[in-house]
């Protein structure tokens, strides 16, 4: 058992307008651990993030539990949640311009964050802001602290957002598609930065992405989401080398990275709509191994290996013959 000092999500279900967008999701991010949540659009991974941050749209319902250390997040008042965001939980989203006030110079913007979570003087906050900018790799920080967000490139803006997210030394950093809008080489820089910061600050990192290869390089554990459910969860190296859910396997097979054959193995069809889920397994309509039993009733999250779960009753078929 790993220490649950980081984040524990327990049977989280999120409903919006009567439809379940996230269903019975459970995972644990240990302290100083990097956890990856991977899924395509509509898988519910972003909604899970929003639930953790308390940023769900009005009219949504939640059940289950989210524990940050000892604090139960779903039970907090909006005011306490707001204080938590930025202090105990830092967030980085896809579009840096959505997080940066275009009329605030970046130095003062970061100082503001520092001062709202710690009792320091203005001078100390300013020094802290410059230090944060240096820590995220912005050269000539003293001068650049006086610049506005639009004077930075996309990658640098994201670094500033990360600096702001870390300003109050949070326990958990939540990054939802932080590099999707960035070029490959810039992306590499941001990922490296997140990785080194995570280790230096002994912080938990929850990284959400649709790109399995990013998660492969960054995260020790991975959870695969499909149509609102967590269909597989375990150590990254295990899940990638020995996937135990047909969707995970299909996701790996359809990744364009150097395969031998020209054709990619694609999955026929498309994910089900939130209101029109099949009775049994959510993946049943597209699965090659499907049986009647799969369609009959919802599948439990089964234990398939050490710290490795999969929501599939046919998962033994995926284990290579030599091992079984």
């Amino acid at each position: 058992m790993r220490e649950s000092e980081g984040l524990r999500v327990d049977r989280l279900t999120v409903g919006i307008a009567g439809r379940e967008i996230v269903r019975d999701v459970s995972f644990v991010v240990g302290a100083s651990e990097a956890y990856g949540l991977v899924g395509e659009s509509g898988s519910g991974k972003s909604m899970t993030c929003r639930a953790i941050l308390g940023l769900l749209p009005p009219g949504s319902s939640t059940s289950g539990q989210i524990l940050l250390g000892q604090t139960s997040l779903l039970e907090l008042s909006p005011r306490r949640l707001r204080r938590l965001r930025g202090s105990a939980v830092g967030m980085v989203f896809q579009d840096p311009m959505a997080a940066l006030n275009p009329v605030l110079r970046v130095g003062p913007a970061i100082s503001q964050v520092i001062r709202s979570h710690a009792d320091v003087t203005r001078t100390e906050a300013r020094a802290g802001a410059i230090g944060a900018m240096k820590r995220v790799g912005i050269r000539d920080a003293e001068r650049r602290a006086r610049n506005y967000p639009h004077q930075f490139s996309g990658g640098m803006r994201q670094r500033i957002v990360i600096a702001m997210a870390l300003a109050a030394r949070p326990r958990l950093l939540l990054a939802d598609e932080p590099t999707t809008a960035l070029d490959v080489i810039v992306q590499a820089g941001i990922l490296r930065l997140l990785d080194s910061l995570r280790r230096d600050e002994a912080m938990s990192l929850l990284l959400v992405s649709h790109d399995l290869s990013i998660i492969a390089g960054m995260c020790e554990r991975v959870g695969v989401m499909y149509a609102g459910e967590l269909v597989e969860e375990g150590p990254t190296s295990e899940v990638l080398s020995r996937p135990r859910h047909p969707y995970t396997k299909a996701l790996i097979d359809s990744h364009p990275e150097d395969g031998s054959s020209r054709r990619l193995r694609s999955i026929a069809g498309s994910p089900p709509e939130p209101g029109r889920l099949p009775t049994g397994c959510v993946f049943s309509s597209r699965c090659e191994l499907v049986t009647d039993k799969c369609r009959a009733a919802p599948i439990e999250f089964l234990h398939v290996d050490v710290d490795h779960h999969a929501r599939c009753i046919r998962s033994e078929l995926l284990v290579p013959a030599a091992e079984a």
Binding site: E40, I185, A188, H255, P256, I267
Partner: protein, 326 residues
């Protein structure tokens, strides 16, 4: 070598927008019939400008584009309108690529009508044929784009491009807006179409992995020029240009490698003189600051635009500096 003239020849295309470094700087390439050329680059590399200039959606400031010997860049507007159906483009954004007010059927029928590619009585049948070609049911013809998913819309865009019976299909980041599992579907569709119709293709993308799957020959772009031409027999790992190597190092991988950003100086503008990559290059030396390195072969069809690589290889530089896809 092939005796027939290549299908598409682009000669020294240049285009400059308002400021700084030109978007395209004397770029040349050729594509043979039925061949696929991949173009890889990040944003600002000029790859989209190249795609637009080759398809004449934008006029290059200088240079020529020849399709089957016909010089498109020299044509008058009316003639160009008639000929340009032979080069069709599929764009990145399937949501903005279709007129929301037209039904799928009428958009496809319009192509057939304008270019008289089917007799009036046969239009409905041909539309159904085109839809089947891209894996959509004929009932799609009466619906509007808004009723379809991203992957389906991209199929419709491909069908519309095919309706014009093009000789060359240019796909400008066709997969980037799609989900991972849908990307694979569309990629396979493009490969199938290439095989069935012997369609020549230029595939533009920032994703090196995807491009390698589709295109035997790859041109890597940086700073408005082609910096490396990789023929089919050269593996990606054997690329030589420092930028291509930086790109490879930075690629995330399923093999749990942490991407390496190299010496990228974030946000600095590219230098205006000499090699555009020199500020980030570990091998930059004297000539790099003043002389723009020409694209020269280092071995067979493998060409690189780099002083360091070319000096190390050999001194001969008689071959034509051009990226070719055969």
């Amino acid at each position: 070598m092939i005796d027939r003239p290549p299908l598409l020849v682009a000669e020294r295309l240049s285009k400059e927008y308002r400021t700084g470094r030109p978007a395209l700087s004397e770029v040349s390439l050729t594509v043979a019939r039925g061949a696929v050329l991949g173009i890889v680059g990040e944003s600002g590399s000029g790859k989209s400008t190249l795609a637009r200039c080759v398809s004449l959606l934008e006029r290059p400031d200088s240079g020529r584009v020849l399709l089957d010997g016909l010089e498109l860049t020299a044509l008058g507007p009316r003639q160009l309108r008639r000929e340009r159906r032979r080069i069709q483009v599929v764009f990145q954004d399937p949501y903005a690529s279709l007129n929301p007010r037209l039904t799928v059927g009428s958009a496809l029928a319009e192509v057939l009508r304008v270019h008289r590619l089917a007799p009036p009585a046969g239009i409905t049948a041909r539309v159904a044929e085109l839809l089947a070609l891209v894996g959509l049911p004929s009932s799609a013809a009466s619906r509007r784009p808004v009723e379809f998913s991203g992957g389906q819309r991209q199929r419709i865009c491909i069908a519309r491009a095919l309706a014009a019976k093009p000789d060359l299909l240019i796909a400008d980041e066709p997969l980037s807006s799609l989900d991972v599992s849908i990307q694979a579907q569309i990629l396979n569709l493009l490969l199938d179409l290439r095989d069935e119709l012997s369609l020549a293709m230029v595939f533009v993308s920032h994703d090196l992995h995807v491009v390698r799957r589709v295109a035997p020959t790859i041109a890597v772009m940086f700073g408005g020029r082609i910096v490396e031409a990789l023929p089919p027999e050269v593996a990606l790992e054997d690329a030589r240009h420092p930028y291509t190597r930086a790109l490879l190092d930075a690629l995330p991988s399923l093999r749990a490698k942490l991407p390496d950003p190299g010496q990228a100086d974030l946000g600095a503008a590219l230098p205006l003189e000499g090699c555009p990559f020199r500020d980030r290059c570990p091998h930059a030396h004297a000539p790099c600051a003043t002389i723009d390195p020409p694209l020269l072969p280092v071995q067979g069809q493998h060409a690189v635009a780099c002083h360091y690589v070319n000096d190390a290889a050999h001194g001969s530089n008689t071959a034509q500096p051009v990226a070719q896809a055969e």
